[in-house]
Structure formats: C-alpha cells, structure tokens
C-alpha cells in the first residue's frame, strides 16, 4: 500500500519535472514560431494578432539587396556541393582507412582527427589570404573550398567508423567469387554502408548549413550571402521587424531540425566519433 503511494508520488514528480524541462526546451523555438506569425512587426511580450504576413513579406523580399530567397538559394547551392563532394571523396578515404594497413596510416588518421578540433578562426587567416591571391574572395566557390576544412575530416572519420562495422568476410567472399577489390567495394560494401553514408552526408550538410564565421569573413556582397549571414544583415537593417526576422529564422531552422530528427539514431556516433558541432 505504502509502496504504491511512494511509487505514485515518484511518478508524479517525474512527470512534473519532465513537462517543465520539455517546456523550457521547446520555448525558444515556440516563441520564434509565434513571433513569426505576428501581424505587427513589433510587439511587447506577445503578438496581439496573428497572420502569415511576415512569411509573405520574407518570400517576396521587397528589398532586392536583402533578398531572403536569394540567400536561401545561395546556402542550398554551397551546402549541397560541399556535402556531395566531401561525402564522395571521404567515402574512398574512409574505406581505405578502414580496410587497409599501410604506411603512415596511423599518423594520417591522427592528423584528420585532431584537424577537426583546430580553431576555425586560426585557419581563417591563411585561408583568407589564399582566396585573396586566387581572387576567390566573395565567391561561393571560395566559401565551398573553405568548408572542406571541416567537411572532409568530419566525413572521413565518420565513414571510417561506419565501414568498420561491416564485416570483411562479405567482401572476401565476393572476391573469392571473382569480384575485384573495387567491384567488391562498389557492389557489397557501399550498399551495406548506405545508411551510414547518408547519415554522414546529413551531418556534413547541417554543419555547412549552420556555418557563420567563414561566410562572415569571406562573403561581402549582400546578394551572395548565405542564409545565416543574411539574417544578421537583415536584423542590423530592420531591428524592429521582429516578425519577418523570426520568419527567416524559422525557415533557416526547418532543414536542420528535420535532418536531426532523421539523424537521432546516429547522434551519439556522430557526436563522439566525428565531433559534429552544436
């Protein structure tokens, strides 16, 4: 009898704490969403009337120098290219690190793992100078090259981990049956590693999508801004347009949130092995 009461009390306590904690965690996003649907651009405390006016304004972008759709397009373009290239190149490297024992393998892996812990701002100065010399400052190509500093180590490291989980017997069996090493890789390992490769690509996508500092230093023409940089420029121009600012924020957050929902299963792997950044 007493035991049931104690247990019930504990359950109530747990539920109350969980509801409080979930409420606090959801609050900033919920507030952003509310603010983005405000009819008025500026409001103390909470919006008074709701409409989708802010989204219409953001998508129509009346100010051509601060064009939200253009920024979104720029981000999609740069992020997609970086993700595709980095994942493809890293798949080869990750496979090689996972399957072969070769000279300097260990030291190269150290370089890649420690490499992704290096401060971005330190790499930024020399990279900026290279881009300046190559006349690639203020270009999306230049930004994409710079994104490789984190994309390649992240992807290589994650993919090596995923390849490690696939037993070598399968390829060996395929090779005994007359498949070449490359054929075994393409026909046996790649399909099995597909979920891991997809997860890696999504992590790389999110990291590039969320970048702010490299874009800030490298891009200077507002029309070429990526979405994060654009949002800040918009805020500096129209500080009191809270509804449009938050509508932009919601639109930038949606892809990242949706991808994390898919990636939840891989989160611990990604966080410990590949230092996916938050």
């Amino acid at each position: 009898m007493i035991e049931t009461i104690v247990r019930r009390r504990k359950a109530i306590l747990i539920y109350a704490t969980v509801i409080l904690y979930v409420g606090v965690s959801v609050f900033p996003l919920a507030w952003m969403a509310l603010a983005s649907f405000s009819q008025d651009p500026y409001f103390p405390l909470l919006p008074k009337a709701y409409s989708a006016a802010a989204y219409r304004e953001v998508l129509a972008s009346p100010d051509p120098s601060l064009s939200f759709p253009a920024w979104y397009g720029n981000s999609v373009k740069v992020t997609f290219s970086v993700t595709l290239l980095a994942t493809a190149l890293s798949a080869f490297a990750g496979y090689s690190f996972s399957r072969f024992r070769f000279y300097a393998r260990q030291s190269l892996m150290y370089v890649i793992l420690v490499g992704q812990m290096l401060p971005g701002v330190v790499l930024l100065l020399p990279l900026y100078v290279y881009l300046k010399d190559l006349r690639l400052l203020d270009t999306h190509l230049g930004l994409g090259i710079v994104y490789m500093t984190f994309a390649i180590p992240l992807c290589t490291w994650l993919l090596k981990g995923f390849f490690d989980t696939i037993p070598t017997d399968l390829e060996e069996a395929a090779m005994v049956d007359g498949c070449s090493r490359v054929g075994a890789m393409a026909r046996v390992v790649l399909p099995l590693a597909a979920p891991g490769i997809a997860a890696t690509a999504l992590f790389a996508f999110i990291t590039a999508w969320n970048d702010f500092m490299f874009a800030l230093a490298i891009l200077s023409t507002p029309a070429k801004f990526t979405i994060g940089l654009g949002l800040l420029a918009y805020q500096q121009e129209y500080f009191f347009q809270w509804n449009t600012l938050m509508a932009g924020g919601v639109l930038m957050s949606i892809p990242a949130l949706a991808l994390y929902l898919f990636l939840q299963r891989y989160l611990v792997t990604g966080l410990t092995r590949g230092s996916v950044k938050g």
Binding site: P28, F92, F97, F102, L229
Partner: protein, 291 residues
C-alpha cells in the same frame, strides 16, 4: 594497376584537401605570426612580409584588451562547461527513468541543440530586448523593477551570452550521458538494492564512477568548442558592450578583419592553436574512438 597502390589512391583526394586546407594553413599561420603582415597597407619600403621575430606576439600580449579577452574566455568556457555538465547530467538522469512518452521527451529536448546558431542567437537578442518577453515576464512577476538591457550593459551581457550558449548545449551532454547510462548494467543496481544501498548511495557509488569516462570526453569536446565559440557571441553582442563579451576568438577576428593586422592576429591564433592541440591530444587519449 598494382593493388599495393590502391590504399594510397583512395585516400589521395581527401588527404590532398586536408593538406591544403588544414596543414598548410597551420604552417602558414605560424609563419605569418613572425612576419610583418597587414592586409591592405603595404610597407613604405615595398612589397613582401619581412621577418620580425616575436614582435607580433609582443604587440598582442602587451595589449590590455588581449588579456581581458583571455580572462573573459576562461570565465566563458568554465561557466558554460559547468552549467552544461550539471544540467545535462540532471536531464539525462531524468530522461533515463521509465515513463510514458519518454521517446518524445528525448526528441523534443534536443531542439535547442538542433537549431542553427544564428536564429537561436537572434531569438535571444529579441527576447532579451527591453520589450522582449524576458523583461516583460520578469517585470510582471515582480522580479525586476525596471526593464534591464541584458545585452546592453557590461555586467549582464556575459552572463546572458553564457546562458544562451549553455542552454543550447545541455541536450548534447544529455545525449552523451544517456548513452553512458544505458551502458551501466541493471544487475549492479539490483545487487546494491538487495544489499540495502539507498538511492543516493547507488548514485554516488555506481552511476557517478561509471559515468566518469563519458564525462571526461564530453568535457574535453565542450572545452574545445567553447574556446572556439564565435557565432553566438558575434550575433548577440559582437563582443560588446565595451568588450565585456569579447572572447579571444572575437578579439583575434577583430584584430585581423577590422584593424587588418594579420600578423598580430596570427600570433593570437598560434597561441589558440597550441591550446586546441593540447585539448585535442587529451581528447585522443581519453577516448577509445581511436582504434
């Protein structure tokens, strides 16, 4: 084709890019730090970047602003890690209990971590504004007597930024600790319960010691991230007001891109590099992720 070459051919593109975008810049930043290097103003004497020894280091570390930035960075990193580890441990213990809707709760609490940093920071800028929801709610609850310019005065700006930053990373620590907790076998708790150990003793003598490896790795990752934290501070305060939130990374960025003193900024960068490598090596030693 000789199959002996296959491993090298496979890693060649990735390794070339890593060499070009990571190793070469690291080398270059060291060289820049010991040469005269301004972005726009060329020397009166002509082209080139003459060797100047440790002059850039001298200039950087003679500046009171650099020391202030280092001090702020230490406060920022320690405070963030402390809040995140304590908060994340509490959250993980809570979400490790069995209750209906646990999966949903685990997913929803990840939202702050999953949000891109720029919208997250902008939302806090607006929420912390005079008329923002934070001031209005605190005012109505009678906890403050007038609206507070949280990001506008040097006493509250740093705590506000730390709050926004740590809030975002509590879910990260939670995920790490939940993974750690799930690796602790139930039998240990059952045996301890049979022996009459209280809940507190089970926590002290089983949970905490067994979470030690996870917490070490987590703390090191957090420390490296926070030493390099740039975006959230830049969006919220740009290092202001009166440099109250100017982390060393922000300081290095401003010296390079606002004062154009690349040499001096590189000197700060090299010091940062050494610290990051130190933490990186500690991380490698603390994790079995490597082989």
């Amino acid at each position: 084709m000789n199959p002996r070459w296959l491993p090298y051919i496979l890693i060649l593109p990735a390794v070339t890019i890593v060499a070009g975008t990571l190793l070469l810049p690291c080398l270059n930043v060291v060289i820049m730090s010991v040469t005269e290097w301004y972005l726009f103003a060329q020397r009166a004497g002509g082209e080139g970047h003459p060797f100047v020894g440790l002059a850039n280091y001298g200039a950087a570390f003679k500046s009171a602003l650099t020391w202030k930035a280092l001090h702020i960075t230490v406060v920022f990193v320690v405070a963030c890690v402390l809040v995140e580890v304590v908060g994340g441990l509490g959250a993980a213990l809570l979400l490790n209990e069995e209750f209906r809707g646990r999966g949903v709760a685990r997913t929803l609490t990840l939202i702050p971590f999953a949000m891109p940093v720029v919208p997250w920071a902008l939302a806090w800028v607006v929420m912390l504004y005079y008329d923002g929801i934070v001031n209005q709610v605190l005012l109505r609850l009678g906890l403050i007597h007038g609206t507070v310019a949280w990001l506008g005065q040097s006493t509250t700006a740093l705590p506000a930024v730390i709050f926004a930053r740590a809030f975002k990373l509590v879910p990260f620590v939670q995920v790490m600790f939940l993974a750690g907790l799930s690796a602790i076998p139930d039998e240990l708790y059952e045996a301890a319960t049979v022996d009459g150990a209280s809940a507190w003793r089970r926590f002290r003598n089983i949970t905490l010691p067994l979470l030690k490896p996870v917490s070490l790795v987590t703390t090191l990752i957090l420390a490296v991230w926070h030493i390099n934290d740039f975006a959230i501070v830049w969006v919220m305060t740009q290092g202001g007001p009166s440099n109250a939130t100017e982390l060393i990374v922000i300081n290095a960025y401003k010296v390079a891109f606002e004062a154009f003193r690349f040499g001096e900024s590189s000197a700060i960068g090299v010091v940062l590099l050494v610290f990051s490598l130190l933490f990186g090596v500690l991380y490698l030693k603390s994790t079995k992720a490597f082989e």
